[in-house]
Symmetry: C4
Subunit: 240 residues, 4 copies
């Protein structure tokens, strides 16, 4: 993707979409403490705002994300910040989340992704601390993740390495979640709500499979059943 010039402000034709995304992203942040995925100010949700006039490969797209180190009590649509897909600040009074570079890298390299979530949810983080993927032993896991939840590489914040690790692990995987080693889960989705759902279910299966393993061994699900469950869930579940 070409390294587009940084926009100095939100283009007029994206104003309404950016404002809608701020509303949505602010509201979705409330789901993280609600489902006990975060403590204090940790965790963040972002959503892509697509710019059809923004040049090839989504180079003009923007992302809306939480500011850095802000309490969940203080999250409002107005507090959200806007960056370009190189992670550079476009609009907002505060510094963007220190995980913005990782979110931006995913948007820049996975055009189908419309939402990204990062948490340090306890059980998923524990699997990440051991560098162990979560085996697919629950029908709910086959439904949502289509197989095991994979582990990504150890990567230090400050350059592209977290983003690269996410993209390399999730490209070609059915799973919308990756456990970054010694760090915690990142999840993706068609929009921010889908990425939040994946974060919630990732922690839930991380916890249930952990509990199952504490006193014995869970029974694997045969691959053909995993495939059938995944196919049905992706194509039939919910309202259409």
């Amino acid at each position: 993707m070409p390294n587009a010039a940084r926009p100095t402000e939100v283009p007029a034709h994206l104003r309404a979409a950016v404002d809608a995304a701020k509303q949505k992203v602010a509201a979705l942040h409330a789901e993280l403490p609600r489902w006990e995925l975060v403590v204090w100010t940790a965790g963040n949700v972002s959503e892509r705002v697509r710019d059809d006039q923004g040049g090839p490969d989504g180079a003009g797209d923007l992302l809306v994300i939480k500011p850095s180190g802000v309490s969940y009590d203080d999250i409002t649509p107005e507090a959200m910040v806007v960056c370009d897909v190189q992670g550079r600040l476009v609009e907002g009074d505060r510094s963007p989340s220190s995980d913005t570079a990782a979110h931006a890298y995913v948007y820049a390299h996975m055009p189908e992704v419309g939402g990204v979530v990062h948490t340090h949810s306890t059980y998923a983080t524990a699997w990440a601390a051991r560098g162990e993927e979560i085996p697919c032993v629950l029908t709910m896991m086959a439904d949502e993740f289509g197989g095991p939840i994979p582990v990504g590489p150890f990567a230090v914040i400050g350059d592209d390495s977290i983003g690269r690790g996410i993209v390399e692990t999730l490209r070609g995987s059915r799973s919308p979640a990756v456990l970054m080693a010694n760090h915690g889960p990142f999840t993706i989705g068609g929009d921010a709500r889908a990425a939040v759902k994946a974060a919630v279910l990732c922690e839930e299966v991380a916890r249930a499979v952990h509990v199952a393993r504490q006193v014995g061994e869970p029974v694997p699900i045969a691959q053909q059943h995993v495939d059938a469950l995944y196919d049905r869930y992706q194509n039939v579940y919910g309202q259409r």
Copy 2:
């Protein structure tokens, strides 16, 4: 049971009973997140509406259930959907829960059942992932379940196999709960509230017995005491 023609609408003589069941079932759904049995949109409660004019063996009975993939914040009596006991939609703006076929199968084959609940509650699901029944080592478990909580077969969604697995496991068992292998608990009761109670207590005993086993072995309760506790609880407890 004869495969009755699908009703095209709620019969007039069942209108009041269906509306009352919608109120009750919507309110009972709030108990699932309250007792931390579900995350996101998972889990569902249903109640049977009996039709005494509906032909032999309850063939005209209806069931009220949650729509598929709907947030717990959006559950209202009006949002509930009505199906017949073959699981076919009779009334409602949305698709019924994707677990409706399993609920319907239970109502069609266990005439004494008036309520069904399904969750993926963490500890019960962990026992289900190992395919291991919960041994009866607590007086609370003897009271409510009358013995171990049994495991049902692995079954894939999409046909009758989940419903059949539930019915085959619970018929002739004292337990109102079954742990469907690699999936999660289903519970039954005389009405929806009783089935919700069984779901709450199933998770509670799944958790307490799990914790007991983590660092040693729980002491079994002698069968005669299990029998005495079960008999008293079913016949004396609560208000009459």
Copy 3:
């Protein structure tokens, strides 16, 4: 204690004290779900109302307790029931808690006790399922319990055996909590609030010591330190 004739109503000179106890006991029930000690309708708090004109050894005392099988949403002062210390109903529209006989036995045989609480809190119940006392490895435990939390005998509901088991275990113990085998904790105190506090701290130390033991061995506290901590806490802590 003489088996006094059952009062047919609350004596006039105890009216104000009974009504005050109903207020207090109803309010204290909210602490049980707040600190996650109970699910559904399980658990109960009672308080003694002393009758100085009631004959020798507190034979005329009353107790205020929760009715049986009632939701925590429906607990009001008016819903509370009054029994004598033989556990017989004196006032109230509903059946008393099915644990009333155990509470009453404690009041009848331990004159210093003014409040009793029973829960099935998860971690305390897990120790009870193994029939294992909780070793005193935390300063908070030395403060409140003055040593290990002991296990009481297995006893079946329906006669005096639970009450006897509680009294035999706690008499002569510093601990205000007993883990009744395969059942759950009962706690006592000078009033209902003190018994609720003991129930809350019992679960907290049951959980922390369980977690400590899951991956190693907690370090014991020397007896002289346990004694010093207990003495200070009982005589210095709080407001006087």
Copy 4:
């Protein structure tokens, strides 16, 4: 530090600062139950009020802390008490927290500390019960603690020994948290909010690393990465 004469009241020039600290400390206490770090009345937060006219080495500084044995429902700015840095009561209707001597010792001996928090949070206390430090296996832990969370000595309340144990362990450590053996965590910070943050994150990493260890071994993080993460987080994270 010279053992200054005890002030008999809050000096006029500190009135506004003391009142502001009462507001802040009262509000921060709500974070302890919110993040499930405490039960009942356990736990306390304090903040230093610096007195630039108070003599050498902060000898005239005051601290604002919670009264002893008071419910979290009853914590208001007016209920807070003021002590000097010898732990003697200066203002307030109630006895100060029984942990005041430990807080005061820290303020008297670590001039850079502006806030102190003490809890019995479950997982941190479990590590403390085993006398085991928490290894640094999570990036979040490298960020906030800069390495392992150390264990302090066993110390009995009633003299300087808890305060001394905290100071000796944390002096020269990057970690703002110490696990006092068989007791629980104490955390420090530049102000009370920073100390509360450290208490919240201490429990979170105590839990996640415990869970990771339950079924295997977490992978260590190389020292150079720990150093880089700590440096970045201390200098870049949040709003400036």
